[in-house]
């Protein structure tokens, strides 16, 4: 029962992006198209699940004074795995995500989950938490990317969804559009929460 709770909480209740406001950099930078967002989401999910599992396994033998550097090395190892795998099998996606693949190391979501969850819970729950957080990050990335791609290029996952007469709003896929989209989405979330309470 608790296993499912740990998965589901990452999606909405503790969504890493919208609620915890962690890992803003990749969310803003790679959300120019839905395919990039899904690729980034998959990479983050893989890293957060693997690092959560390893960290919950080694939590008892790691001295607490040097735990942060050790966690970072574990995370960096998995990030390198993702980086090289993606470069070998999906070169176009690797090129589009560019520097943000190695930068998953400093994504606060992953270190945050390692410190706040995996270092205190057993392997099974840590796996569930990693899966939930990864899916939550993917979900929020995809939402931002959907808005930006439809407004900015008139397509969704590369398929044209807007009528041909639609003039793409270029600003949506440029840097300012990322900030506006996320800002208004967060305002909307706050508004909905306010109404409910």
């Amino acid at each position: 029962m608790r296993f499912f709770y740990e998965i589901v909480k990452g999606l909405i209740k503790e969504n890493p992006m919208f609620v915890l406001v962690l890992g803003t950099c990749p969310t803003l930078a790679v959300s120019t198209s839905v395919i990039n967002a899904l690729g980034m989401g998959a990479a983050v999910t893989f890293v957060v699940i693997c690092s959560n599992i390893i960290i919950s396994l080694i939590k008892d033998i790691v001295p607490s004074s040097i735990r942060i550097p050790i966690f970072i090395v574990v995370i960096a190892a998995f990030v390198s795995v993702v980086d090289m795998t993606m470069a070998a099998f999906l070169p176009p996606l690797h090129k589009a995500l560019g520097i943000f693949i190695p930068l998953i190391v400093v994504n606060c979501v992953i270190l945050g989950r390692a410190e706040a969850f995996a270092s205190k819970n057993n392997v099974l729950y840590s796996l569930a938490d990693g899966l939930g957080m990864g899916m939550g990050a993917t979900l929020s990335l995809t939402i931002v990317a959907t808005i930006r791609e439809i407004l900015g290029s008139g397509t969704w996952l590369g398929i044209r969804v807007m009528p041909n007469s639609y003039e793409p709003m270029l600003v949506a896929i440029l840097a300012p559009g990322a900030f506006f989209t996320l800002g208004f989405l967060m305002a909307l979330m706050n508004r909905l929460k306010e109404k409910r309470s």
């Binding site: 803003l28 942060i68 390198s80 930068l103 994504n107 606060c108 440029l174 900030f179």
Partner: protein, 200 residues
């Protein structure tokens, strides 16, 4: 003489054209977190300039002289260097300049997970000069680190100034805090887009 021109190009592109915060999206967590007061923004900015300059120079040496055949270890080596460097800088400052430590101290640990610092280290490994061929040498990398830090600080300070005044404005409750900060950043990014046209 031509080198001075090169320095100018590095400075302009790091501060304005390819600003780390507004066009590269690096280092946004501290940008949104620490930009509520000018004092703390200044402290954070100085700490970032300091660490970024050191990181850029040291990771350059590591990348060129140590990593050669082990390029796949780059990410791990760089993040360990940054973590160790931040810890070291913190200890040195604490011992030798207590006054400085008091103003920068709280920001230093945060810098390890600032993606702008790791970002500059990784970008420097592939960066080329304005002629498009020559890779960055040691001095170029260090300068790029320094000016990227300056660019970060300029935007952080501007943002803090705006947000301080924003405290006096009545806003709808759901816009307060993060949403309005992001929209402000968007407007600033639009302004910085004006620099994009420069060909240096």
């Amino acid at each position: 003489m031509t080198y001075i021109g090169e320095i100018f190009v590095i400075a302009m592109s790091a501060i304005f054209i390819q600003n780390f915060l507004l066009s590269r999206f690096l280092g946004l967590c501290p940008f949104l977190g620490v930009s509520t007061k000018i004092d703390s923004a200044f402290g954070m900015g100085m700490a970032v300039i300091f660490v970024m300059t050191l990181t850029a120079s040291i990771t350059y040496l590591i990348n060129v002289y140590l990593l050669g055949p082990y390029a796949y270890l780059q990410t791990i080596a760089f993040i360990l260097t940054i973590a160790a460097l931040v810890q070291f800088v913190e200890m040195v400052i604490q011992k030798n300049a207590p006054a400085l430590y008091k103003s920068l101290g709280v920001y230093l640990p945060l810098i390890t997970t600032n993606c702008a610092v790791l970002g500059v280290a990784i970008l420097n490994t592939t960066a080329v000069r304005s002629d498009g061929v020559t890779p960055y040498n040691f001095l170029d990398s260090t300068l790029n680190g320094f000016f990227s830090g300056v660019g970060f600080t300029v935007v952080l300070l501007a943002m803090a100034g705006i947000r301080q005044r924003l405290g006096l404005v009545t806003l709808p409750k759901y816009m307060r805090g993060m949403p309005i900060a992001l929209i402000l950043a968007g407007i600033m990014a639009l302004a910085f887009y004006g620099f994009m046209g420069f060909k240096l």
